[in-house]
């Protein structure tokens, strides 16, 4: 069994030391620092990218909230404006209606007065006509001409009945 030949041990151990030592040095001083730095950089980049994304999301959410707030404010302002407008229009309408009512009442009062005057005039005319008619009738039947005052008094009496 060649494995048990001690004459080869020296050379094998010497070269093992050289080769393994070289591999150890290359790995520990060049390869491992490089790879660990790469992995670290990658982890850091991912972390910072995620943080950046989180920040941007927060900004977007804040913008959305601000927009919704502005919208709600605008809506309530619009409501207030509409109410004010409605009240103004109502007041204007009321005012104009009152004015119109007053005007109409005035006109109605004027018309009543004219009507009353016309009726009084008509009544007076009627009295005069009735007195004339009574005078004519009395003349025709040949009675003495009654005094104007008496006729008028009698007519008033009739009219009162």
């Amino acid at each position: 069994m060649p494995q048990l030949d001690p004459s080869t041990f020296g050379s094998q151990l010497f070269w093992l030391l050289v080769c393994f030592g070289a591999l150890y040095l290359v790995l520990s001083f060049i390869v491992i620092p490089r790879i660990s730095r790469t992995l670290e950089t990658r982890a850091e980049t991912m972390e910072s990218d995620l943080a950046e994304a989180e920040k941007l999301r927060g900004q977007a959410e804040a913008a959305l909230a601000a927009y919704e707030e502005a919208l709600a404010e605008a809506r309530s302002r619009a409501l207030v404006l509409a109410q004010e407008m409605r009240a103004e229009v109502q007041a204007e309408t009321d005012r104009q209606k009152a004015e119109l009512d007053a005007q109409l009442a005035e006109q109605a009062a004027g018309a009543d007065k004219i009507l009353a005057a016309a009726r009084d005039a008509a009544m007076a005319d009627l009295k005069t006509a009735a007195a004339e008619l009574v005078g004519d009738v009395m003349q025709a039947i040949g009675t003495d001409k009654a005094a104007d005052g008496d006729v008028a008094k009698a007519l008033d009496k009739v009219a009162a009945e």
Binding site: W15, C19, F20, A22, L27, I32
Partner: protein
């Protein structure tokens, strides 16, 4: 057709002894240099690009890194990361030696007990040193199992000490044995195929040939698995030395 011939260490360049140690460049040295060169080149090239989104080679390097780093984190914890360069080198060295050994006409460095034993001895010395540095003389409590009758203590301490001291042996023999047995078996079946075919019995050679193909697949699996087993056992020993709980 000696199945053990493949394990012979033959000098390629004779070099003068250094402080009484033969430093000749042998076929074993050649394949060690190749394993280290290939694994080192692979990791250097894989780590030369530091792109945020890795390419294929970079990803392979990072996966190898992550595989061993996770193994240490899971078995030892973050304190174990101080030993990451050593454990990563161990894993890559054994993996590449095992895998290169699967090439025809190659030499399997890890099929020699002296190599695997040297690696296991380094692990053993390191683990023991870590245990004593971290816990001082209290590290010896590792050999006294808790919750047993006092009468049993001396016997169990002896058993624990023996099991601790045989760790480098079991660790090295496991890797060496797997490699040597697998390659010997492949050689024997290869010998059958060649022998039967040259004797004109080609149909009879089909069965050992098929078996050889299957065994080659199995050996590839074992080559990876044994590198993993060696590394994870190192992690487990290290964990015991650091945390002293078992």
């Amino acid at each position: 057709m000696d199945p053990m011939h493949q394990f012979e260490v033959q000098p390629i360049i004779e070099l003068p002894a250094l402080a009484g140690i033969d430093t000749s460049f042998t076929n074993s040295s050649l394949w060690m240099v190749l394993a280290v060169g290939l694994s080192g080149m692979f990791m250097l090239m894989a780590s030369s690009r530091t792109a945020l989104v890795p390419g294929r080679l970079q990803l392979m390097g990072e996966m190898a890194y992550g595989f061993v780093a996770n193994m240490i984190k899971e078995n030892v914890g973050t304190e174990g990361m101080r030993f990451f360069p050593f454990i990563f080198s161990l894993f890559l060295f054994i993996l590449f030696c095992n895998m290169l050994g699967m090439l025809p006409y190659s030499f399997t460095v890890t099929s020699h007990l002296i190599v695997t034993f040297a690696l296991a001895a380094v692990v053993f010395v390191m683990v023991t040193a870590v245990g004593f540095i971290r816990h001082g003389i209290g590290f010896l409590k590792l050999f006294v199992p808790s919750g047993i009758p006092v009468v049993m203590v001396p016997l169990l301490v002896i058993i624990e000490v023996i099991s601790y001291l045989t760790r480098p042996v079991s660790l090295s023999v496991r890797l060496f044995g797997n490699m040597m047995a697998g390659h010997t078996m492949l050689k024997i079946f290869g010998g059958f195929v060649v022998g039967l075919s040259s004797a004109g019995l080609v149909p009879l050679a089909i069965a050992p040939f098929a078996l050889m193909v299957a065994l080659t697949g199995l050996e590839l699996l074992i080559a990876g698995l044994q590198a993993y087993v060696f590394t994870i056992l190192t992690c487990i020993y290290l964990n015991e030395a650091i945390h002293m709980d078992h």
